[in-house]
């Protein structure tokens, strides 16, 4: 029996795990560095590029959808006009892709992977090989999903919500596409679960000395909260999805009423996850915004601890609100009141978070860089979305607006700012760290104003249409007497989308420019205080090249009594 020392032993000094054996060239070296990398930064970039590529697909689908709505029955992009079944597949895949293949891989997979170790002073994630597995599972899920477009019967067409019986046997020709949809989504869930282990373990165990939990940047807290919410809510849907697959393949009857099943069970399983999922998307985005605002207002983040506590409360509450998505689908009326109460209640902690961010501006010295513009835009647009959400959350009002374009407007006013403004803000801000170059600020400003103008042009008409009673998921609005008169609003929305898509071109140009050419960005171009700016731009293996500890919180800007404009976390205290 070995004798253990009484004091906590110091773990032997070891090499940072991302130190590889020297291998300078060759095909395998290329594979190891760029394809099968275990480095969190490379994995983050892989997620980013895959997510952005899928955003192009999702955007193309949006184009086809809006084209059909503005010019029903006309040929799209030189091809024949789309059929009603095709339309349903378009809207299904647009929603599915945007939520699972754009929002999550970019906000969590890309930004989370790239930034978490850097922000806490670590050299990599806790489980680098698991990290790599998570990306390649995600890649596989992407292949399966894209393949579903090309199988006989086409891609799934029962909505991103895949309600049975429609998804089971409602469109007999579509069953292969639906089965592939279930498989792709299941793989994507598995990849995020695997990745999630890293996002939760790394910040708890690998913070550099001096970084207590309340000295972590708010972005890390948000990633942890989002990950925990995801991990505790997705399970029932994974089980439910396997059962749906059995129903599709074997007509088992778990969800089919004529076989004794209950379609409402699927709805509950779906939304039990589906609602927390929207916070899984929102929290990393607001975390990005929470990093950017203090830097460009030269002020500490207002209410850091209330934001953390509110996020925890909101995360908890997010599990108690799901049935507000089911108010008019035959839900037990006795559940309407409790779920309305919890839904309205959850707006309180989120309001605390948002208004704390806004309060950070007060008496700040504001610099309107592109990142800052997108951060402000995210909050402003999201507030519109959140306010419309209050109406939806009250069951009595929801009866009128549910399944109309009001809901479509609501969730685009929340999701688009979170996903796209959040992503753009993050990219314009962290690009120097990721790629060693700056994104063109002038193109960025054009990108921002164009996006904002045309985003609102696209979605304000939808809020109006919804109040006017226009249902969603309608292939040809001309056939109904009460939707036909709203065609003008459809035209405005479609023009808005054309403009929105067009104004992504400045970003594409800036993106390409930002990947080529000399690496001229400094270590800390924005004079920010968080640890990622202490590493080289871009960081090499092991991230940091100097010894340091953390001496203060992450937002010491314009500290009263200090001569310096900001006090970075790594700077030792002078006295």
């Amino acid at each position: 029996m070995s004798v253990q020392a009484p004091a906590p032993p110091v773990e032997p000094v070891h090499e940072s795990p991302s130190h590889h054996e020297p291998q300078t060239s060759g095909f395998f070296h290329f594979l190891r560095t760029y394809v099968f990398s275990v480095d969190h930064k490379m994995i983050g970039r892989q997620y980013l590029f895959t997510g952005l590529a899928m955003a192009l697909v999702g955007g193309l689908l949006a184009y086809i959808i809006r084209h059909q709505l503005a010019y029903p029955g006309q040929a799209v992009l030189g091809h024949h006009p789309i059929s009603a079944d095709n339309y349903n597949a378009m809207i299904t895949m647009h929603g599915t892709i945007m939520v699972f293949w754009v929002a999550m891989p970019i906000l969590i997979g890309a930004f989370g992977n790239f930034l978490i170790p850097l922000m806490i002073g670590a050299d990599d994630m806790a489980f680098p090989r698991l990290n790599m597995l998570s990306y390649w599972t995600f890649f596989l899920s992407t292949v399966v999903l894209v393949a579903s477009f090309f199988v006989p019967g086409g891609a799934a067409a029962s909505g991103w919500t895949a309600y049975p019986s429609l998804s089971v046997n409602g469109i007999p020709a579509n069953q292969l596409g639906q089965a592939l949809w279930v498989l792709a989504v299941a793989l994507e869930f598995a990849s995020m679960l695997i990745g999630g282990i890293n996002y939760l373990t790394t910040p708890l165990n690998m913070r550099v000395a001096g970084m207590s939990l309340f000295r972590m940047p708010i972005f890390v807290w948000m990633q942890m909260a989002a990950t925990l919410i995801f991990m505790l809510s997705v399970g029932p849907l994974i089980g439910g999805a396997v059962l749906l697959l059995f129903d599709v393949l074997f007509q088992t009857g778990v969800y089919l009423p004529d076989k004794g099943g209950d379609p409402l069970l699927w709805q509950h399983l779906f939304w039990f996850f589906g609602h927390p999922e929207v916070y899984v998307i929102f929290l990393p985005a607001i975390g990005i915004v929470g990093e950017i605002i203090p830097v460009f207002a030269r002020k500490p983040l207002f209410g850091y601890k209330p934001i953390v506590y509110s996020t925890i409360v909101a995360g908890f509450l997010s599990f108690l609100v799901w049935a507000h998505h089911q108010f008019i689908s035959g839900l037990d009326p006795r559940l309407a009141m409790p779920f309305s109460i919890t839904t309205i209640l959850i707006s309180v902690p989120f309001a605390i978070v948002l208004f704390s961010m806004i309060a950070t501006f007060w008496r700040g010295s504001i610099e309107f860089t592109t990142a800052m513009l997108f951060a402000i835009g995210m909050i402003a647009e999201f507030l519109v979305g959140g306010t419309t959400g209050i109406i939806n959350g009250s069951a009595a009002a929801d009866i009128y607006v549910h399944d109309t374009y009001y809901i479509v407007g609501h969730f685009h006013y929340t999701l688009f700012p979170a996903v796209f403004y959040g992503t753009f803000a993050g990219l314009y801000y962290w690009w120097p760290k990721m790629f060693g170059r700056r994104l063109d600020e002038r193109l960025g400003k054009i990108h921002f104003w164009g996006t904002t103008l045309f985003f609102n042009m696209t979605f304000i008409p939808m809020l109006l249409m919804g109040i006017g009673g226009h249902q969603r998921r309608i292939f040809d609005p001309r056939v109904f007497t009460y939707t036909a008169p709203m065609h003008n609003l459809h035209l405005i929305a479609t023009f808005g989308l054309y403009g929105l898509l067009l104004y992504q071109l400045p970003f594409v140009i800036a993106f390409v420019k930002g990947l080529v050419g000399k690496r001229t960005a400094e270590r800390n171009p924005w004079n920010a205080a968080t640890l990622e700016w202490h590493a080289p731009s871009p960081p090499g293996h092991g991230n940091f090249d100097q010894e340091f500890e953390v001496h203060r919180g992450p937002y010491e800007y314009s500290h009263p009594g200090s001569e310096k404009d900001f006090l970075p976390q790594w700077l030792p205290t002078t006295n």
């Binding site: 773990e11 050299d123 069970l265 599990f319 108690l320 839900l331 037990d332 009326p333 006795r334 010894e547």
Partner: protein
């Protein structure tokens, strides 16, 4: 240039409960649950059998999985997951089990 990492390891617990004793208890409880399965009253039978299952699970958790010796964070994680399962059950039951609020003649 790469850096070297130095971490303080937390003190590993060294208590090891009597695993064979726990195993014996688990086997005994298995026999009990099979016998309880023969009770005629369905409610009592289900309640008792699942209580026994719960006790077995807690024994495995506390002793085999060392939850007894782990920081409170682990209990918190497990309790959270279980709590949300209960929430799922309560939220769905009125629809699936309770007839969905429809009055049946």
């Amino acid at each position: 240039m790469h850096l070297q990492i130095e971490t303080l390891k937390p003190a590993e617990h060294h208590e090891h409960p009597n695993y064979v004793l726990v195993y014996g208890a688990l086997l005994a409880l298995l026999v009990v649950s099979i016998l309880l399965g023969r009770l005629p009253n369905a409610y009592a039978m289900n309640a008792l059998v699942f209580t026994v299952a719960g006790i077995k699970a807690i024994l495995v958790l506390r002793y085999f999985m060392h939850v007894k010796f782990e920081p409170w964070l682990v209990v918190f994680i497990l309790a959270g997951a279980t709590f949300f399962l209960v929430v799922l059950f309560i939220g769905v039951a009125p629809d699936v089990v309770g007839g969905g609020g429809w009055i049946r003649k």
